[in-house]
């Protein structure tokens, strides 16, 4: 034992430097946590009364109940609209993001400045939240699901552009070289050398986003951009809690169904081994 202790002294000191610095960081983070909780009103007593009320609300939410057939039908239609918003936004974004993705990919666009501009604009689009895009589009095309679809499209162009350009950069260079060696132009190299290879990956990414966009589409209604969110926010604000839980349940079932369908399609497209295509 003593021999081991002599050989690895650093593992036997009780307070090594690394350990001390870890403890210091953890303490600082903890102090910041307490400060933050204090600033945000965690110690004012509202927390306890709030939790009491929360349990009351949770009790009132059960059992889920649409109230009437007319309500249930309206919710169903709104849910279809939500899925439609997500579908349109995702497909339009996929189509529009492809050229931008090509512009941002190193092995396609040789000009540094074009690539830089493409990337920066994608970053900017992505940093603006989908709800803010929804509000901006509402100012352009008015309240309604159309604004929602445009919002999803805009925010997804940012994400897709980045993902697509990464997928394109990861593509094998040999097919492009083969086409160039037969005298094919740069454009033909992209069309026949790169696109066939990356297309399944891109399609699987689009499908993957379709599911998460359905989730986003449920909330853009809160700011008036169509879909089930409008009914949901209204039900919560008017304290129709059984309807609220009914709507939430509908959303959960829909998202789960879309998840199953889209992952089946994804696996069919890229094979089970490739997983979720990231």
């Amino acid at each position: 034992m003593d021999a081991v202790r002599a050989r690895y002294p650093e593992h036997f000191t009780r307070w090594s430097r690394q350990r001390l610095s870890m403890i210091g960081i953890a303490a600082a983070l903890f102090v910041l946590l307490l400060f933050g909780m204090g600033e945000l009103g965690f110690f004012d007593g509202t927390l306890l009364t709030g939790f009491g009320r929360l349990f009351e609300i949770a009790g009132l939410m059960l059992p889920p109940d649409p109230g009437s057939w007319a309500h249930a039908r309206a919710y169903g239609m709104a849910l279809i609209e939500t899925v439609a918003i997500a579908l349109l936004g995702t497909v339009a974004a996929g189509v529009l993001a492809l050229p931008v993705g090509l512009l941002a990919a190193r092995n396609v666009t040789a000009q540094r400045i074009v690539r830089f501009l493409a990337r920066r604009s994608l970053d900017t689009i992505r940093s603006v939240d989908i709800l803010i895009w929804a509000l901006i589009w509402i100012n352009v095309v008015g309240l309604g699901p159309f604004a929602g679809a445009l919002a999803i499209m805009t925010s997804d162009i940012g994400s897709f552009g980045k993902l697509f350009s990464e997928a394109i950069e990861a593509a094998d260079r040999k097919p492009v070289e083969g086409i160039a060696s037969t005298g094919g132009s740069h454009l033909m190299g992209i069309r026949f050398g790169i696109l066939p290879e990356v297309f399944p990956v891109l399609a699987s990414q689009v499908l993957y986003y379709f599911e998460s966009n359905t989730r986003s589409a449920t909330i853009i209604g809160i700011v008036g951009a169509g879909g089930i969110g409008l009914h949901l926010a209204e039900a919560i604000r008017t304290l129709e809690l059984q309807q609220t839980s009914f709507i939430i349940l509908m959303i959960l079932v829909t998202v789960a169904a879309i998840d199953v369908v889209s992952s089946q399609l994804r696996f069919a497209m890229i094979g089970r081994r490739a997983g979720i295509g990231k």
């Binding site: 009103g41 009320r53 439609a84 579908l87 352009v140 959960l252």
Partner: protein, 278 residues
């Protein structure tokens, strides 16, 4: 050659079928989402003009001519930004701590019981599928308007999302240390502390940092439903057409997000570097 032609033809056929399906789905969705190309073309000029107007002051001058006028509310906005960051921080830390506890109960290899594992999994799924803003709307009723509702919504969502990721990390650990500790007669929580936790801690931290970036964006829009942070001022400025305020707040949010993103990515790279050295 004939076989080649046949295979090409069958692939073409599949592609055509796929395109036709997508086209029909899009047509149906367009009808449901009230898409109207006419309305879009009539109004599209408002999009660039809206963006241009965002960058002009009340007196018609471009914003960069008078920074004092553009950022007239800087003090108030900075305070709200700090509140937003604190919301994200407190929400991330509390959510990550809860998720770390849940992950050990949800991981297939170390979970103490099958029913507990399935229950925890479903619970995490529920927490991450219901959008943050819906939780925020509910919490606003229970806790009143203010950042508390927003923080709790962030906590719930973070717990659900990280609970799943953490459980996957735990499922990938080397079981030998855990078996070693258990073989000395240690109870479950001790085996987890000394057998499993050291293996997963760096991955947990890295995922938590990523989540923090997402939560900063999430906390910035919590104010849209009255749940604290800078979103409150943003939506008010958008709704009341205070154009230059909108751009000023957006610029502040984008800058903050960019700074946070680069800081966390530096931290994450250092973390990965540390792991490599050990």
């Amino acid at each position: 050659m004939a076989a080649y032609d046949a295979s090409v033809r069958s692939r073409r056929g599949h592609t055509l079928l796929f395109v036709a399906c997508v086209a029909i789905a899009i047509l149906l969705a367009s009808a449901s989402a009230e898409v109207s190309p006419v309305k879009f073309l009539e109004n599209i000029h408002r999009f660039p003009s809206y963006i241009v107007r965002l960058f002009h002051l009340e007196n018609g001058q471009p914003v960069w001519t008078d920074f004092g006028e553009w950022f007239w509310g800087l003090q108030r906005w900075l305070r709200l930004l700090v509140e937003t960051l604190l919301m994200a921080y407190v929400g991330t830390v509390l959510g990550a701590l809860a998720a770390a506890g849940l992950a050990f109960m949800a991981a297939a290899n170390v979970a103490p019981g099958r029913w507990l594992r399935l229950t925890v999994r479903r619970f995490c799924e529920l927490c991450r599928t219901v959008p943050e803003l819906v939780f925020a709307l509910l919490f606003v009723i229970a806790f009143g308007l203010g950042p508390m509702a927003g923080v709790l919504a962030v906590v719930i969502h973070t717990m659900g999302a990280l609970g799943k990721l953490f459980a996957e990390v735990v499922e990938n650990i080397d079981m030998k240390p855990v078996e070693g500790v258990s073989s000395t007669g240690a109870p479950w929580h001790v085996a987890m502390r000394f057998g499993a936790l050291p293996q997963v801690l760096s991955n947990f931290t890295s995922y938590t940092l990523l989540r923090f970036e997402i939560n900063v964006r999430g906390a910035a829009v919590m104010g849209f439903v009255g749940a604290g942070g800078i979103g409150q001022d943003l939506i008010e400025a958008i709704r009341k057409f205070y154009y230059s305020d909108v751009s000023a707040i957006l610029v502040l949010i984008l800058l903050t997000v960019a700074v946070i993103d680069s800081l966390t990515s530096i931290l994450r790279h250092r973390l990965i570097g540390l792991e490599g050295k050990n």
